[in-house]
């Protein structure tokens, strides 16, 4: 399974049968199917536009913007915090993650919260994560920092 996190908005892609259901069972997350991918259930009604001052799910939009979901999140400094099921301001996330460089890739014990910092102090804003249900490993082929 591949997890794309673009500026705090996630999409989950199944690369083999049963990966999503297995991930849901193990993680406890609620996912919702959209076209050929899944999103967090709390983001299933997220619009591809934001209007300054108007509600955007649990948050308030800072900018007028229309485009891809990740772009909407970027322009508003939003990130989705899957630990609380809430959209948060990217700058309000001050926690640290366990992302570590391992050879030519990054690894962690779970999904990295966008907006969080690596032990080296770099703020993560997006990534492509490969989740293996066999080894229960989280391998990151791409990580974007601020």
């Amino acid at each position: 399974m591949i997890v794309n996190c673009e500026h705090g908005f996630y999409t989950f892609y199944e690369t083999d049968v049963g990966q999503i259901s297995n991930f849901i069972l193990r993680s406890g997350f609620s996912l919702f199917k959209k076209n050929n991918y899944f999103v967090f259930d709390a983001l299933k009604d997220a619009e591809d536009f934001s209007i300054k001052g108007l509600p955007y799910l649990n948050a308030v939009s800072k900018k007028n913007y229309q485009g891809k979901m990740g772009e909407v999140f970027r322009s508003n400094d939003f990130v989705f915090d899957f630990t609380s099921d809430l959209i948060k301001d990217r700058n309000s996330v001050t926690s640290f993650n366990d992302l570590m460089l391992s050879g030519d890739r990054y690894v962690s014990k779970g999904l990295v919260l966008p907006g969080s910092f690596t032990q080296g102090g770099k703020k993560v804003i997006g990534y492509t994560c490969h989740v293996s249900r066999l080894t229960n490993s989280f391998t990151y082929s791409e990580v974007d920092f601020v």
């Binding site: 209007i51 300054k52 001052g53 007028n64 913007y65």
Partner: protein
């Protein structure tokens, strides 16, 4: 892909979407009267376009009324014989029947256009 959302312009010149005021919007319409229209969003661009159908309909109603007034007046004058230099108590025959009919036909077409607008 851009998005079009149903919106309106208030008498205060504020763009309203979903009962809330939208800020930083370019209003691409003449005048600042109340209107209904659409909010168009595309990346950072956001603008409001008023629907001109209601304004056009109002204009067509006034044009139709004007043509009706012209037609009625000409008809009265024509049948009174003033336009043919009538003398004495005998008015001249109507000479403008065809022209008056043309005016009425045009008015009919304008009314059709008006009725076709929402």
């Amino acid at each position: 892909m851009s998005r079009c959302l149903k919106a309106r312009l208030s008498s205060k010149g504020e763009v309203i979407y979903s009962d809330k005021v939208v800020s930083d919007v370019d209003i691409l319409s003449e005048g600042n009267a109340e209107s209904e229209g659409v909010l168009v969003l595309d990346k950072e661009l956001i603008f409001y376009l008023a629907s001109s159908a209601k304004d056009i309909k109002k204009a067509l109603i006034e044009v139709s009324k004007g043509l009706s007034e012209i037609s009625t007046s000409l008809d009265k004058l024509d049948n009174a014989g003033y336009l043919v230099g009538a003398s004495g108590a005998v008015p001249g025959p109507p000479l403008l029947t065809l022209n008056i009919n043309n005016i009425n036909n045009i008015r009919g077409k304008i009314d059709d256009l008006k009725d076709a607008l929402i």
